[in-house]
């Protein structure tokens, strides 16, 4: 059933009192994943979902709310791209502003710019991700917000959540009584987080069966937050700030959840990109669906009534002949205008851009294909994102989770290395956008990837050695997340140390594959730190497990290998093993490794310690640490015997030093 309450009529005549909402949309997207497509075709918000610019969808649903003022924050370089959009929508709203910010590095900057110009005086609807869709009219939510504002001026913000279960779910704590937000957690992996006991004292519901819609109703104070602390990057920072020092700021955030029939979704990665287009085409967001989106000069679609959509050629628009649906097999798909689709082509859950040709008997499932592509006969494309004017030869079987940026011509013979979870481009990423690495692949392609080690495709997936099974795993995971709504976060929780260890193991192994650069070392350290934070591991443990994993590396099987690598990665050790505690931990790591029945390691142990100690070697261990450790060893342990020589020697040395002192 449609959302209750037709906002349309009463939203036309303007409200007298000045609590009219303004919608603030941040047009640029700061997600590095999308870089492969942004380099040549404008800002992300003009990228097309279901062959319609994202921003048009966004504005269209805003049209259905009571809002009639819109402010688009756009970075200066993208300004001109958005002009047509302005012209198109301007007349639909009472006010439609394009505000250009001087090269903002983050959402925060954009908002600061907005505050600087002091354009907004009243409350506003903040949409930080342009690709945010819903079919809710937000009437109830807005009313609630206003009521709260009346009650207390310090209720500055309402976050809107939807019941639609989304792979990455927020976990939030909300006061039962008034829906006040007390606990906010929105990491990429909400499987584990800490809750102080006192949250549970005043009755708080912790729920993870809701999804953040990315829509928030804010008062001006929120902007102030941004301009006061310049380090804020995104909305979450502000929220955390407000929650963190509640007693200082005295500001409250509330949470409102959409009802059962109101769907909402947003695009953060390619996975959600596909999901969103499926939702749109299957009419879960009705009346926000492609055949209600039309711009007579731009694009018009007819549907076969259900979920097959066809672009209409200009000359046919409006004529009855234009409604004649084409002879294409498939479901939940869209085929752009003036496409050449040969017989026996099957298109399922996919979007095909205008002017694309698809050869006889090709099968396409869950793909998004750009404009003017030429796809050969008998191809099989599954779960892939394909840019504009890409050429795919006959009988090509594209790997799942592949991302092909524009103007590629795929070679007839498959690539020698997996592209799953990477982006294949004709050009290298430009240096200045950090967080992107690339390899060169034969055929003069560049294989982009995130230096965070996460997959380009999806936020939840971290690329291991075998991408595919990782994916299948990931899918299965969020499957069962979907199935059991009420699963408490603790169930999913794993032993943090173990997680930490395997995470850094992954990063180490990955770095091993690459040619060594000092930059890589820094990345490694960064990653270790990040996973430290993620699993909050104490510094000692970090020291211990870092080294433990290090000596577990294949490269360190033999003492020689160990030596080389250790020297190579000196940066790592110098970074972590300055304090004596850490050094002890390091030795402990060795000790733990010792017990295991691998003779060569046991033999190598003293040399290893020595190597770590001497200046000629790594020279990061210091005598006191070793001694302390040695003391801690129990008398019986074989290590004592092994270490005896070194220990004595060390003792002598120290004594000598003492002598010198005298």
């Amino acid at each position: 059933m449609p959302p209750k309450g037709t906002i349309a009529r009463d939203s036309i005549q303007k409200k007298e009192d000045d609590n009219t909402l303004t919608a603030v949309i941040v047009a640029d997207h700061y997600e590095t994943r999308f870089a492969p497509f942004l380099s040549n075709q404008g800002p992300w918000c003009l990228h097309r979902v279901c062959n319609v610019p994202i921003i048009d969808f966004t504005i269209d649903w805003i049209l259905r709310t009571e809002i009639n003022k819109i402010i688009l924050l756009v970075s200066e370089k993208n300004l001109d791209y958005l002009k047509p959009t302005e012209v198109r929508w301007r007349t639909f709203f009472e006010q439609f502003l394009l505000i250009s910010c001087r090269d903002p590095a983050s959402i925060g900057d954009a908002l600061r710019e907005l505050d600087l110009r002091a354009i907004i005086s009243s409350d506003f609807l903040l949409i930080t991700n342009p690709a945010t869709f819903t079919n809710a009219t937000l009437r109830r939510q807005v009313e609630n917000f206003r009521a709260r504002r009346k009650a207390n001026r310090n209720n500055v913000m309402t976050l809107i959540y939807s019941r639609s279960s989304h792979p990455e779910k927020a976990t939030i704590g909300v006061k039962k009584a008034d829906g006040k937000l007390v606990l906010y957690h929105r990491a990429d992996n909400p499987s584990r987080f800490d809750v102080d006991k006192n949250y549970f004292l005043d009755d708080v519901v912790i729920r993870n069966n809701v999804t953040d819609t990315g829509i928030a109703i804010c008062s001006v104070n929120v902007l102030v937050q941004f301009s006061t602390n310049f380090d804020f990057r995104g909305r979450d920072d502000a929220i955390r700030e407000i929650l963190a020092n509640e007693e200082i700021l005295l500001l409250n955030i509330h949470v409102d959840v959409l009802n059962e029939s109101e769907c909402a979704t947003q695009i953060n990665d390619y996975k959600s990109y596909l999901t969103a287009s499926a939702l749109l085409m299957d009419r879960w967001l009705y009346p926000l669906c492609p055949d209600n989106m039309f711009q007579p000069d731009e694009y018009v679609f007819v549907s076969n009534g259900q979920n097959m959509y066809y672009g209409v050629e200009k000359e046919k628009i409006g004529s009855l002949a234009g409604t004649q649906s084409k002879a294409i097999l498939g479901s939940c798909s869209m085929v752009g205008a003036s496409c050449k689709i040969e017989q026996a082509v099957k298109v399922v859950g996919s979007v095909v851009g205008d002017g694309t040709t698809i050869g006889l008997g090709t099968r396409i499932r869950n793909c998004i294909i750009g404009r003017n592509c030429r796809i050969g006969r008998g191809c099989l494309l599954e779960n892939a994102i394909i840019g504009d004017s890409v050429t795919i030869p006959n009988g090509y079987q594209l790997e799942k989770y592949a991302i092909l940026s524009s103007n590629l011509r795929m070679p007839a013979d498959p690539l020698n290395r997996s592209v799953a979870g990477y982006a294949l481009c004709t050009f290298a990423p430009d240096e200045d956008d950090e967080g992107l690495d690339f390899d060169r692949v034969d055929g003069g392609f560049y294989l982009w990837k995130l230096s965070s080690g996460y997959s380009m495709w999806s936020k939840e997936v971290k690329l291991g050695n075998g991408a595919e099974d990782v994916f299948s795993h990931a899918d299965s995971v969020d499957e069962n997340v979907l199935t059991d709504e009420e699963s408490s976060p603790e169930t999913a929780e794993a032993e943090p140390v173990a997680v930490f260890q395997e995470e850094i193991f992954d990063s180490m192994t990955r770095i091993l594959e690459l040619s060594f650069t000092p930059q890589l070392m820094n990345n490694l350290i960064l990653e270790i730190n990040s996973s430290k934070l993620a699993n909050n591991i104490s510094m000692e443990d970090v020291a211990k497990y870092a080294f433990k994993t290090f000596i577990l590396l294949n490269a360190c099987k033999t003492f020689i290998g160990f030596k080389e690598l250790a020297l190579k990665w000196k940066g790592l050790f110098t970074n972590y093993y300055k304090p004596q505690k850490s050094q002890v931990q390091m030795l402990m790591a060795i000790e733990e490794r010792f017990g295991a029945q691998n003779e060569d390691f046991n033999k190598a142990l003293p040399n290893m310690v020595h190597f770590l100690y001497t200046e000629t070697g790594l020279g990061i261990l210091e005598a006191p640490a070793i001694l302390e450790w040695h003391e801690s060893l129990d008398a019986s342990s074989p290590i004592r015997t092994l270490m005896k020589r070194i220990i004595d020697w060390l003792k002598e040395e120290s004594e000598e030093e003492d002598d010198d002192d005298e």
């Binding site: 037709t6 349309a8 059962e260 029939s261 939702l279 259900q306 209409v312 009855l320 234009g322």
Partner: protein, 388 residues
């Protein structure tokens, strides 16, 4: 000029136009440039701007109409849509720049195409555009030769030469005057047709009838018809509806599943049509077909209410294209599981073949399906329909 602070107030067209004209004259020229004649006639720049203003007014109206359509979250009764469209068309006739019938028709058609391009499934829009076109022709030809004989081909016209040439060249002013008059008449007819239909209720429904009606809550015509019937007759009414619909107080609400079982008790079935096609088949709210089939089996007469503006002069190439499906009425929690895998069917309408329908109850008369084509002659002109 500073684009960042371009403020264009949509609601007050005139202010808008002024502000636009400041920096949009070139645009105006362009737009007027579409029709060369107007360029020549509009000699001075002032006139050009004047016409530009009018043109923009029309665009404004169109946009308004489309916005309102877009803003709606549920399908509104087609009466409202019809009136809105008609008002817009009136605006076109009023402000449009044309010197003779052809230009006017072209203008109407152009706007009509944009509208129906935006909402191909709203056939009522098409009907009204065609209706106005026909009126335009009439008002023109009235100008020429007194009586206006049916434009439709018939056997005894096969040897008449179509005398096109003597129809052009009438002054736009008179056409406009007459046409506006005619449009207003239609307006009135539309407003009154609900009463007319409900008035027929008294004759068509008899004492102690047991009626089965469908989608009572959404169709105002149907409810008023029943009111008319109930005025002096005692009837029992089963209203077929989905559980979520609000149920009418003086009708027993039953679900679609029960209809086939209940049909043996019924004496009449009354549906409200969405669109009626020349062959007497019609689009009715989804579920109508199974009701009609059940009625057919028990030979219960089926009446379909349709206001005159719902009678379409054309056939649709592919009925599935004009039948929109709406929001799947399922909890959104299922969405991420089902989207892209399961197609949830939620058709708004359904095609009912002519042979299942006993009678169409229009505002002018009650007619058999096989005679719908007669009405078409009264409202539409073949040439318009042909090139639509």
């Amino acid at each position: 000029m500073n684009h960042r602070f371009t403020i264009t107030v949509a609601r007050a067209a005139v202010i808008f136009v002024k502000s636009v004209l400041m920096h949009r004259e070139f645009l105006v020229f362009k737009q007027v440039g579409k029709s060369p004649e107007t360029m020549t006639t509009a000699s001075t720049r002032q006139e050009v701007i004047e016409e530009g203003r009018k043109h923009l007014l029309i665009e404004e109206g169109r946009k308004q109409l489309l916005i309102n359509l877009r803003r709606r979250t549920t399908r509104e009764p087609s009466f409202k849509l019809a009136t809105d469209t008609l008002n817009f068309l009136r605006k076109v006739v009023l402000h449009g720049t044309y010197n003779n019938l052809e230009e006017l028709l072209a203008l109407l058609r152009e706007n009509g195409l944009i509208l129906s391009g935006a909402y191909p499934s709203e056939l009522v829009m098409r009907n009204l555009v065609l209706m106005v076109c026909k009126l335009a022709r009439e008002s023109n030809s009235r100008e020429t030769n007194g009586e206006f004989d049916s434009p439709y081909d018939s056997l005894n016209k096969l040897w008449k030469k179509e005398d096109k040439e003597n129809q052009i060249g009438r002054s736009a002013k008179t056409i406009r005057k007459k046409l506006i008059q005619a449009v207003n008449d239609i307006q009135i007819e539309m407003e009154t047709c609900r009463e007319h239909i409900s008035a027929q209720g008294q004759y068509l429904v008899h004492m102690n009838d047991v009626l089965i009606v469908h989608s009572l809550s959404t169709s105002t015509t149907l409810s008023s018809f029943l009111a008319g019937a109930k005025k002096d007759k005692k009837t029992r009414v089963f209203s077929v509806q989905i559980p979520t619909e609000p149920d009418d107080h003086d009708a027993v609400s039953i679900s679609l599943c029960e209809v086939a079982g209940k049909m043996c008790e019924a004496t009449k079935v009354i549906l409200s049509g969405a669109t009626v096609f020349p062959d007497g088949s019609c689009l009715a709210p989804a579920g109508g077909l199974s009701i009609c089939l059940a009625a057919h089996r028990h030979s219960v007469p089926v009446y379909v209410l349709c206001a005159f503006y719902k009678i379409a002069p054309f056939f649709v190439p592919d009925s599935s294209a004009v039948i929109k499906h709406s929001l799947p009425g399922l909890p959104v929690a299922m969405a991420s599981k089902w989207a892209g895998r399961v197609r949830v069917l939620q058709p708004a309408l359904e095609m009912i073949p002519a042979n299942l329908i006993t009678l169409f109850v229009s505002n002018t008369a009650s007619i058999m399906p096989s005679h719908i084509y007669r009405l078409i002659g009264d409202y539409y002109h073949p040439d318009d329909v042909a090139n639509y």
